[in-house]
Symmetry: C2
Subunit: 196 residues, 2 copies
Amino acid sequence: MTDTEAATAPRRSDATRHAILRAARERFAADGYDRATIRAIAKDARIDPSMVMRYYGSKEGLYAAALDVDLRLPDPAAFDPQDVGRVLVSHFLDLWESNEMLSAMLRVGATSEAGAERMQGVFRDQLLPLARHMCPDPEQAATRAALCSSQVLGLALTRYILRFRPVVALSREEIVEWLGPTVQRYLTAPYPTPYP
Amino acid sequence: MTDTEAATAPRRSDATRHAILRAARERFAADGYDRATIRAIAKDARIDPSMVMRYYGSKEGLYAAALDVDLRLPDPAAFDPQDVGRVLVSHFLDLWESNEMLSAMLRVGATSEAGAERMQGVFRDQLLPLARHMCPDPEQAATRAALCSSQVLGLALTRYILRFRPVVALSREEIVEWLGPTVQRYLTAPYPTPYP
DNA sequence: GGCGTTGGCCAACAACCGTTGACCAACAAC
DNA sequence: GTTGTTGGTCAACGGTTGTTGGCCAACGCC
Protein backbone atom coordinates (compact mmCIF):
# COMPACT_ATOMS: atom_id res chain seq x y z
CA MET A 1 0.00 0.00 0.00
CA THR A 2 3.08 2.16 0.21
CA ASP A 3 2.75 2.67 -3.53
CA THR A 4 0.44 5.45 -4.59
CA GLU A 5 -2.45 3.53 -6.14
CA ALA A 6 -0.06 1.41 -8.16
CA ALA A 7 -0.49 -2.12 -9.48
CA THR A 8 -2.04 -3.36 -6.22
CA ALA A 9 0.12 -6.26 -5.19
CA PRO A 10 -2.15 -9.25 -4.56
CA ARG A 11 -3.12 -9.34 -0.93
CA ARG A 12 -3.68 -12.36 1.13
CA SER A 13 -7.28 -11.34 1.76
CA ASP A 14 -8.15 -11.35 -1.93
CA ALA A 15 -9.06 -15.01 -1.67
CA THR A 16 -11.50 -14.25 1.10
CA ARG A 17 -12.99 -11.34 -0.78
CA HIS A 18 -13.53 -13.57 -3.76
CA ALA A 19 -15.04 -16.34 -1.67
CA ILE A 20 -17.51 -13.86 -0.23
CA LEU A 21 -18.55 -12.66 -3.67
CA ARG A 22 -19.03 -16.19 -4.90
CA ALA A 23 -21.12 -17.16 -1.91
CA ALA A 24 -23.13 -13.94 -2.19
CA ARG A 25 -23.99 -14.61 -5.84
CA GLU A 26 -25.11 -18.12 -5.02
CA ARG A 27 -27.28 -16.99 -2.14
CA PHE A 28 -28.77 -14.03 -3.97
CA ALA A 29 -29.59 -16.26 -6.93
CA ALA A 30 -31.18 -18.93 -4.78
CA ASP A 31 -32.94 -16.83 -2.18
CA GLY A 32 -33.38 -13.24 -3.34
CA TYR A 33 -32.26 -10.18 -1.48
CA ASP A 34 -34.10 -10.49 1.82
CA ARG A 35 -33.67 -14.19 2.45
CA ALA A 36 -30.02 -14.15 1.49
CA THR A 37 -28.70 -13.21 4.91
CA ILE A 38 -25.20 -11.97 5.55
CA ARG A 39 -24.83 -14.68 8.13
CA ALA A 40 -25.64 -17.40 5.61
CA ILE A 41 -23.31 -15.93 3.02
CA ALA A 42 -20.52 -15.72 5.57
CA LYS A 43 -21.08 -19.31 6.61
CA ASP A 44 -20.84 -20.42 2.97
CA ALA A 45 -17.58 -18.51 2.61
CA ARG A 46 -16.39 -19.97 5.91
CA ILE A 47 -15.69 -16.67 7.58
CA ASP A 48 -17.29 -14.49 10.20
CA PRO A 49 -20.25 -12.27 9.24
CA SER A 50 -18.41 -9.22 10.45
CA MET A 51 -15.81 -9.74 7.72
CA VAL A 52 -18.46 -9.14 5.10
CA MET A 53 -19.22 -5.80 6.67
CA ARG A 54 -15.58 -4.91 6.83
CA TYR A 55 -14.91 -5.66 3.19
CA TYR A 56 -18.13 -4.40 1.66
CA GLY A 57 -19.49 -1.91 4.16
CA SER A 58 -23.09 -3.06 4.19
CA LYS A 59 -25.41 -5.60 2.67
CA GLU A 60 -26.30 -3.10 -0.02
CA GLY A 61 -22.62 -2.66 -0.79
CA LEU A 62 -22.08 -6.39 -1.02
CA TYR A 63 -24.97 -6.67 -3.42
CA ALA A 64 -23.56 -3.90 -5.60
CA ALA A 65 -20.16 -5.58 -5.70
CA ALA A 66 -21.54 -9.06 -6.33
CA LEU A 67 -23.79 -8.17 -9.23
CA ASP A 68 -21.51 -6.29 -11.55
CA VAL A 69 -22.97 -7.87 -14.65
CA ASP A 70 -21.49 -7.89 -18.12
CA LEU A 71 -23.80 -9.47 -20.67
CA ARG A 72 -20.89 -9.91 -23.11
CA LEU A 73 -23.21 -9.47 -26.06
CA PRO A 74 -21.74 -10.56 -29.38
CA ASP A 75 -20.39 -8.05 -31.86
CA PRO A 76 -23.06 -7.17 -34.43
CA ALA A 77 -20.43 -7.52 -37.15
CA ALA A 78 -19.81 -11.16 -36.25
CA PHE A 79 -23.08 -12.62 -37.51
CA ASP A 80 -25.72 -12.31 -40.20
CA PRO A 81 -28.29 -9.65 -39.20
CA GLN A 82 -30.98 -12.09 -40.24
CA ASP A 83 -29.83 -14.42 -37.47
CA VAL A 84 -29.75 -11.91 -34.66
CA GLY A 85 -32.80 -13.45 -32.99
CA ARG A 86 -31.37 -16.94 -32.76
CA VAL A 87 -27.92 -15.67 -31.88
CA LEU A 88 -29.24 -13.58 -29.03
CA VAL A 89 -31.50 -16.24 -27.57
CA SER A 90 -28.69 -18.75 -27.75
CA HIS A 91 -26.30 -16.31 -26.13
CA PHE A 92 -28.67 -15.55 -23.28
CA LEU A 93 -29.18 -19.24 -22.64
CA ASP A 94 -25.43 -19.67 -22.37
CA LEU A 95 -25.20 -16.73 -20.06
CA TRP A 96 -27.95 -17.90 -17.79
CA GLU A 97 -26.67 -21.40 -17.44
CA SER A 98 -22.98 -20.68 -17.08
CA ASN A 99 -23.36 -18.07 -14.43
CA GLU A 100 -25.50 -17.49 -11.40
CA MET A 101 -25.20 -13.75 -11.64
CA LEU A 102 -28.18 -13.32 -13.92
CA SER A 103 -30.49 -15.40 -11.78
CA ALA A 104 -29.31 -13.41 -8.80
CA MET A 105 -29.93 -10.15 -10.59
CA LEU A 106 -33.41 -11.21 -11.64
CA ARG A 107 -34.40 -12.43 -8.20
CA VAL A 108 -33.08 -9.34 -6.50
CA GLY A 109 -34.62 -7.12 -9.17
CA ALA A 110 -38.01 -8.58 -8.40
CA THR A 111 -37.37 -8.08 -4.70
CA SER A 112 -35.91 -4.64 -4.20
CA GLU A 113 -36.20 -1.24 -5.79
CA ALA A 114 -32.44 -0.83 -6.04
CA GLY A 115 -32.20 -4.20 -7.76
CA ALA A 116 -34.79 -3.21 -10.33
CA GLU A 117 -32.95 0.00 -11.12
CA ARG A 118 -29.66 -1.78 -11.56
CA MET A 119 -31.32 -4.20 -13.92
CA GLN A 120 -32.75 -1.34 -15.95
CA GLY A 121 -29.23 0.01 -16.25
CA VAL A 122 -27.68 -3.25 -17.37
CA PHE A 123 -30.18 -3.90 -20.13
CA ARG A 124 -30.34 -0.30 -21.25
CA ASP A 125 -26.59 0.19 -21.45
CA GLN A 126 -25.74 -3.13 -23.03
CA LEU A 127 -28.70 -4.22 -25.15
CA LEU A 128 -29.63 -0.81 -26.52
CA PRO A 129 -26.45 -0.26 -28.57
CA LEU A 130 -26.92 -3.61 -30.28
CA ALA A 131 -30.55 -2.77 -30.99
CA ARG A 132 -29.46 0.49 -32.56
CA HIS A 133 -27.27 -1.42 -34.98
CA MET A 134 -29.98 -3.88 -35.92
CA CYS A 135 -33.30 -2.11 -36.23
CA PRO A 136 -34.56 -0.09 -39.19
CA ASP A 137 -35.55 3.10 -37.37
CA PRO A 138 -33.04 4.06 -34.64
CA GLU A 139 -35.79 6.00 -32.89
CA GLN A 140 -37.45 2.70 -32.08
CA ALA A 141 -34.28 1.10 -30.74
CA ALA A 142 -35.20 1.54 -27.09
CA THR A 143 -38.65 0.09 -27.57
CA ARG A 144 -37.37 -2.85 -29.57
CA ALA A 145 -34.60 -3.61 -27.10
CA ALA A 146 -37.11 -3.51 -24.27
CA LEU A 147 -39.44 -5.88 -26.11
CA CYS A 148 -36.56 -8.31 -26.56
CA SER A 149 -35.74 -8.18 -22.88
CA SER A 150 -39.40 -8.77 -22.05
CA GLN A 151 -39.28 -12.08 -23.91
CA VAL A 152 -35.82 -13.09 -22.78
CA LEU A 153 -36.51 -12.23 -19.15
CA GLY A 154 -39.89 -13.90 -19.38
CA LEU A 155 -38.17 -17.07 -20.44
CA ALA A 156 -35.64 -16.80 -17.62
CA LEU A 157 -38.40 -16.10 -15.13
CA THR A 158 -40.52 -19.08 -16.09
CA ARG A 159 -37.56 -21.40 -16.57
CA TYR A 160 -35.14 -20.57 -13.78
CA ILE A 161 -37.19 -18.80 -11.13
CA LEU A 162 -40.78 -20.08 -11.31
CA ARG A 163 -39.69 -23.36 -12.89
CA PHE A 164 -42.74 -23.89 -15.05
CA ARG A 165 -42.48 -27.55 -15.90
CA PRO A 166 -42.93 -27.35 -19.69
CA VAL A 167 -40.42 -24.51 -19.97
CA VAL A 168 -37.84 -26.40 -17.96
CA ALA A 169 -38.40 -29.44 -20.16
CA LEU A 170 -37.62 -27.58 -23.36
CA SER A 171 -34.25 -28.29 -24.91
CA ARG A 172 -31.83 -25.58 -25.81
CA GLU A 173 -32.53 -26.03 -29.52
CA GLU A 174 -36.30 -25.93 -29.08
CA ILE A 175 -36.05 -22.68 -27.18
CA VAL A 176 -33.90 -21.12 -29.88
CA GLU A 177 -36.34 -22.35 -32.49
CA TRP A 178 -39.35 -20.92 -30.66
CA LEU A 179 -37.98 -17.63 -29.31
CA GLY A 180 -35.46 -16.80 -32.02
CA PRO A 181 -38.04 -15.61 -34.54
CA THR A 182 -39.80 -13.59 -31.85
CA VAL A 183 -36.67 -11.69 -30.91
CA GLN A 184 -35.82 -11.35 -34.57
CA ARG A 185 -39.15 -9.72 -35.25
CA TYR A 186 -38.93 -7.39 -32.26
CA LEU A 187 -35.56 -6.16 -33.49
CA THR A 188 -35.83 -6.09 -37.25
CA ALA A 189 -39.45 -6.26 -38.46
CA PRO A 190 -40.08 -3.10 -40.52
CA TYR A 191 -43.10 -2.07 -38.48
CA PRO A 192 -45.56 -3.52 -36.00
CA THR A 193 -47.02 -6.72 -37.40
CA PRO A 194 -46.42 -6.77 -41.11
CA TYR A 195 -47.15 -10.47 -41.27
CA PRO A 196 -50.54 -12.26 -41.35
CA MET B 1 -73.82 -20.19 13.09
CA THR B 2 -76.58 -22.17 14.75
CA ASP B 3 -77.50 -23.32 11.27
CA THR B 4 -75.57 -26.28 9.99
CA GLU B 5 -73.34 -24.68 7.38
CA ALA B 6 -76.24 -22.74 5.91
CA ALA B 7 -76.27 -19.45 4.01
CA THR B 8 -73.82 -17.81 6.42
CA ALA B 9 -75.56 -14.64 7.52
CA PRO B 10 -73.19 -11.71 6.94
CA ARG B 11 -71.16 -11.10 10.05
CA ARG B 12 -69.96 -7.79 11.28
CA SER B 13 -66.36 -8.93 10.98
CA ASP B 14 -66.65 -9.54 7.24
CA ALA B 15 -65.73 -5.93 6.60
CA THR B 16 -62.55 -6.36 8.59
CA ARG B 17 -61.70 -9.61 6.88
CA HIS B 18 -62.11 -7.92 3.54
CA ALA B 19 -60.04 -4.93 4.58
CA ILE B 20 -57.25 -7.27 5.61
CA LEU B 21 -57.32 -9.06 2.27
CA ARG B 22 -57.27 -5.80 0.36
CA ALA B 23 -54.36 -4.45 2.37
CA ALA B 24 -52.53 -7.76 2.03
CA ARG B 25 -52.84 -7.74 -1.76
CA GLU B 26 -51.54 -4.20 -1.94
CA ARG B 27 -48.61 -4.95 0.29
CA PHE B 28 -47.72 -8.23 -1.38
CA ALA B 29 -47.89 -6.54 -4.78
CA ALA B 30 -45.73 -3.64 -3.71
CA ASP B 31 -43.22 -5.37 -1.46
CA GLY B 32 -43.12 -9.10 -2.06
CA TYR B 33 -43.57 -11.76 0.56
CA ASP B 34 -40.83 -10.98 3.05
CA ARG B 35 -41.07 -7.21 3.12
CA ALA B 36 -44.86 -7.28 3.33
CA THR B 37 -45.02 -7.61 7.09
CA ILE B 38 -48.14 -8.56 8.98
CA ARG B 39 -47.68 -5.46 11.08
CA ALA B 40 -47.74 -3.22 8.02
CA ILE B 41 -50.75 -4.98 6.55
CA ALA B 42 -52.60 -4.65 9.85
CA LYS B 43 -51.79 -0.97 10.04
CA ASP B 44 -53.14 -0.45 6.52
CA ALA B 45 -56.34 -2.23 7.52
CA ARG B 46 -56.45 -0.20 10.72
CA ILE B 47 -56.56 -3.15 13.08
CA ASP B 48 -54.19 -4.97 15.38
CA PRO B 49 -51.69 -7.44 13.90
CA SER B 50 -53.07 -10.17 16.11
CA MET B 51 -56.40 -9.99 14.27
CA VAL B 52 -54.67 -11.11 11.09
CA MET B 53 -53.44 -14.18 12.92
CA ARG B 54 -56.87 -14.88 14.31
CA TYR B 55 -58.62 -14.69 10.97
CA TYR B 56 -56.00 -16.32 8.77
CA GLY B 57 -53.95 -18.44 11.15
CA SER B 58 -50.53 -17.44 9.88
CA LYS B 59 -48.81 -15.30 7.31
CA GLU B 60 -48.78 -18.26 4.95
CA GLY B 61 -52.52 -18.64 5.43
CA LEU B 62 -53.11 -14.98 4.74
CA TYR B 63 -51.10 -15.25 1.56
CA ALA B 64 -53.11 -18.25 0.42
CA ALA B 65 -56.38 -16.45 1.07
CA ALA B 66 -55.29 -13.19 -0.52
CA LEU B 67 -54.04 -14.67 -3.76
CA ASP B 68 -56.88 -16.84 -4.88
CA VAL B 69 -56.48 -15.90 -8.51
CA ASP B 70 -58.99 -16.42 -11.30
CA LEU B 71 -57.62 -15.36 -14.68
CA ARG B 72 -61.19 -15.26 -16.12
CA LEU B 73 -59.88 -16.26 -19.51
CA PRO B 74 -62.36 -15.69 -22.34
CA ASP B 75 -64.36 -18.55 -23.83
CA PRO B 76 -62.61 -19.92 -26.95
CA ALA B 77 -65.98 -19.96 -28.70
CA ALA B 78 -66.37 -16.22 -28.25
CA PHE B 79 -63.70 -15.08 -30.70
CA ASP B 80 -62.04 -15.91 -34.00
CA PRO B 81 -59.22 -18.42 -33.43
CA GLN B 82 -57.06 -16.26 -35.66
CA ASP B 83 -57.34 -13.47 -33.10
CA VAL B 84 -56.45 -15.48 -30.01
CA GLY B 85 -53.09 -13.76 -29.67
CA ARG B 86 -54.46 -10.24 -29.59
CA VAL B 87 -57.43 -11.27 -27.47
CA LEU B 88 -55.22 -12.87 -24.87
CA VAL B 89 -52.68 -10.07 -24.66
CA SER B 90 -55.47 -7.55 -24.36
CA HIS B 91 -57.17 -9.62 -21.70
CA PHE B 92 -54.01 -9.96 -19.63
CA LEU B 93 -53.42 -6.22 -19.82
CA ASP B 94 -56.91 -5.65 -18.45
CA LEU B 95 -56.31 -8.15 -15.73
CA TRP B 96 -53.01 -6.69 -14.67
CA GLU B 97 -54.20 -3.13 -14.55
CA SER B 98 -57.56 -3.69 -12.92
CA ASN B 99 -56.28 -5.79 -10.11
CA GLU B 100 -53.28 -5.94 -7.87
CA MET B 101 -53.59 -9.67 -7.39
CA LEU B 102 -51.44 -10.57 -10.36
CA SER B 103 -48.64 -8.22 -9.45
CA ALA B 104 -48.76 -9.64 -5.96
CA MET B 105 -48.66 -13.18 -7.28
CA LEU B 106 -45.71 -12.41 -9.53
CA ARG B 107 -43.71 -10.66 -6.82
CA VAL B 108 -44.37 -13.39 -4.30
CA GLY B 109 -43.69 -16.06 -6.92
CA ALA B 110 -40.26 -14.60 -7.49
CA THR B 111 -39.70 -14.43 -3.74
CA SER B 112 -40.84 -17.72 -2.25
CA GLU B 113 -40.99 -21.34 -3.26
CA ALA B 114 -44.62 -21.68 -2.25
CA GLY B 115 -45.48 -18.64 -4.33
CA ALA B 116 -43.79 -20.12 -7.38
CA GLU B 117 -45.71 -23.36 -7.02
CA ARG B 118 -49.02 -21.57 -6.67
CA MET B 119 -48.24 -19.64 -9.82
CA GLN B 120 -47.45 -22.83 -11.68
CA GLY B 121 -50.83 -24.13 -10.66
CA VAL B 122 -52.74 -21.05 -11.76
CA PHE B 123 -51.26 -20.95 -15.23
CA ARG B 124 -51.37 -24.68 -15.71
CA ASP B 125 -54.98 -25.09 -14.63
CA GLN B 126 -56.35 -22.06 -16.40
CA LEU B 127 -54.26 -21.44 -19.50
CA LEU B 128 -53.72 -25.04 -20.50
CA PRO B 129 -57.37 -25.84 -21.33
CA LEU B 130 -57.54 -22.85 -23.63
CA ALA B 131 -54.31 -23.88 -25.30
CA ARG B 132 -55.75 -27.35 -25.88
CA HIS B 133 -58.63 -25.78 -27.79
CA MET B 134 -56.43 -23.60 -29.92
CA CYS B 135 -53.33 -25.51 -30.93
CA PRO B 136 -53.00 -28.03 -33.75
CA ASP B 137 -51.41 -30.91 -31.84
CA PRO B 138 -52.90 -31.32 -28.34
CA GLU B 139 -49.69 -33.01 -27.25
CA GLN B 140 -47.94 -29.67 -27.56
CA ALA B 141 -50.58 -27.77 -25.60
CA ALA B 142 -48.55 -27.61 -22.39
CA THR B 143 -45.46 -26.36 -24.16
CA ARG B 144 -47.38 -23.77 -26.13
CA ALA B 145 -49.25 -22.53 -23.09
CA ALA B 146 -45.98 -22.21 -21.20
CA LEU B 147 -44.42 -20.25 -24.05
CA CYS B 148 -47.36 -17.87 -23.98
CA SER B 149 -46.97 -17.34 -20.27
CA SER B 150 -43.24 -16.72 -20.73
CA GLN B 151 -44.04 -13.78 -22.99
CA VAL B 152 -47.00 -12.50 -21.02
CA LEU B 153 -45.18 -12.75 -17.70
CA GLY B 154 -42.08 -11.25 -19.24
CA LEU B 155 -44.14 -8.24 -20.23
CA ALA B 156 -45.64 -7.96 -16.76
CA LEU B 157 -42.21 -8.31 -15.19
CA THR B 158 -40.59 -5.59 -17.26
CA ARG B 159 -43.62 -3.27 -17.16
CA TYR B 160 -45.01 -3.59 -13.65
CA ILE B 161 -42.18 -4.94 -11.53
CA LEU B 162 -38.87 -3.80 -13.04
CA ARG B 163 -40.52 -0.81 -14.72
CA PHE B 164 -38.30 -0.71 -17.78
CA ARG B 165 -38.93 2.76 -19.10
CA PRO B 166 -39.66 1.88 -22.76
CA VAL B 167 -42.07 -0.88 -21.76
CA VAL B 168 -43.94 1.39 -19.37
CA ALA B 169 -44.18 4.00 -22.12
CA LEU B 170 -45.86 1.63 -24.56
CA SER B 171 -49.57 2.17 -25.07
CA ARG B 172 -52.07 -0.60 -24.70
CA GLU B 173 -52.59 -0.77 -28.46
CA GLU B 174 -48.88 -0.90 -29.21
CA ILE B 175 -48.42 -3.78 -26.81
CA VAL B 176 -51.27 -5.71 -28.39
CA GLU B 177 -49.79 -5.01 -31.82
CA TRP B 178 -46.32 -6.20 -30.80
CA LEU B 179 -47.12 -9.17 -28.55
CA GLY B 180 -50.34 -10.36 -30.17
CA PRO B 181 -48.65 -12.04 -33.12
CA THR B 182 -46.07 -13.62 -30.83
CA VAL B 183 -48.69 -15.26 -28.64
CA GLN B 184 -50.65 -16.17 -31.75
CA ARG B 185 -47.66 -17.99 -33.15
CA TYR B 186 -46.87 -19.78 -29.90
CA LEU B 187 -50.42 -21.09 -29.77
CA THR B 188 -51.35 -21.84 -33.37
CA ALA B 189 -48.28 -21.98 -35.64
CA PRO B 190 -48.26 -25.46 -37.23
CA TYR B 191 -44.71 -26.23 -36.08
CA PRO B 192 -41.64 -24.44 -34.84
CA THR B 193 -40.82 -21.58 -37.21
CA PRO B 194 -42.42 -22.35 -40.53
CA TYR B 195 -41.85 -18.76 -41.61
CA PRO B 196 -38.69 -17.12 -42.96
C1' DG C 1 13.73 -8.33 19.85
C1' DG C 2 10.00 -4.62 19.26
C1' DC C 3 6.06 -2.95 16.69
C1' DG C 4 2.60 -1.61 13.39
C1' DT C 5 -0.35 -3.61 10.01
C1' DT C 6 -3.33 -7.11 8.35
C1' DG C 7 -6.86 -10.82 8.65
C1' DG C 8 -9.84 -12.82 11.52
C1' DC C 9 -13.08 -14.28 15.46
C1' DC C 10 -16.29 -13.34 19.24
C1' DA C 11 -19.92 -11.22 21.74
C1' DA C 12 -23.07 -8.02 21.87
C1' DC C 13 -26.48 -4.31 20.40
C1' DA C 14 -30.87 -2.45 18.71
C1' DA C 15 -34.41 -3.26 15.70
C1' DC C 16 -37.81 -5.91 13.80
C1' DC C 17 -40.25 -10.13 12.79
C1' DG C 18 -44.29 -13.73 13.44
C1' DT C 19 -46.85 -15.33 16.94
C1' DT C 20 -49.28 -15.88 21.50
C1' DG C 21 -52.30 -15.18 25.29
C1' DA C 22 -54.45 -12.20 28.62
C1' DC C 23 -57.71 -8.73 28.86
C1' DC C 24 -61.77 -5.70 27.53
C1' DA C 25 -66.18 -3.57 25.42
C1' DA C 26 -70.28 -4.37 23.12
C1' DC C 27 -74.17 -6.90 22.33
C1' DA C 28 -77.66 -10.84 22.14
C1' DA C 29 -80.06 -14.61 24.61
C1' DC C 30 -82.19 -16.19 28.28
C1' DG D 1 -79.32 -9.16 35.16
C1' DT D 2 -76.56 -12.53 34.15
C1' DT D 3 -74.02 -14.95 30.78
C1' DG D 4 -71.78 -16.29 26.43
C1' DT D 5 -70.18 -14.88 22.16
C1' DT D 6 -68.06 -11.77 19.03
C1' DG D 7 -64.65 -8.19 17.56
C1' DG D 8 -61.00 -6.01 19.13
C1' DT D 9 -56.61 -4.07 21.73
C1' DC D 10 -52.27 -4.53 24.37
C1' DA D 11 -48.07 -6.27 25.93
C1' DA D 12 -44.99 -9.53 25.64
C1' DC D 13 -42.10 -13.77 23.99
C1' DG D 14 -38.41 -15.94 21.30
C1' DG D 15 -35.95 -15.69 17.27
C1' DT D 16 -33.41 -13.47 13.52
C1' DT D 17 -31.33 -9.65 11.24
C1' DG D 18 -27.80 -5.98 10.00
C1' DT D 19 -24.30 -3.88 12.23
C1' DT D 20 -20.58 -2.57 15.68
C1' DG D 21 -16.47 -2.71 18.43
C1' DG D 22 -13.16 -5.06 21.09
C1' DC D 23 -9.80 -8.63 21.21
C1' DC D 24 -6.28 -11.81 19.25
C1' DA D 25 -2.74 -14.24 16.21
C1' DA D 26 0.34 -13.95 12.52
C1' DC D 27 3.44 -11.60 9.72
C1' DG D 28 6.78 -7.90 7.74
C1' DC D 29 9.88 -4.36 8.78
C1' DC D 30 13.43 -2.01 11.46
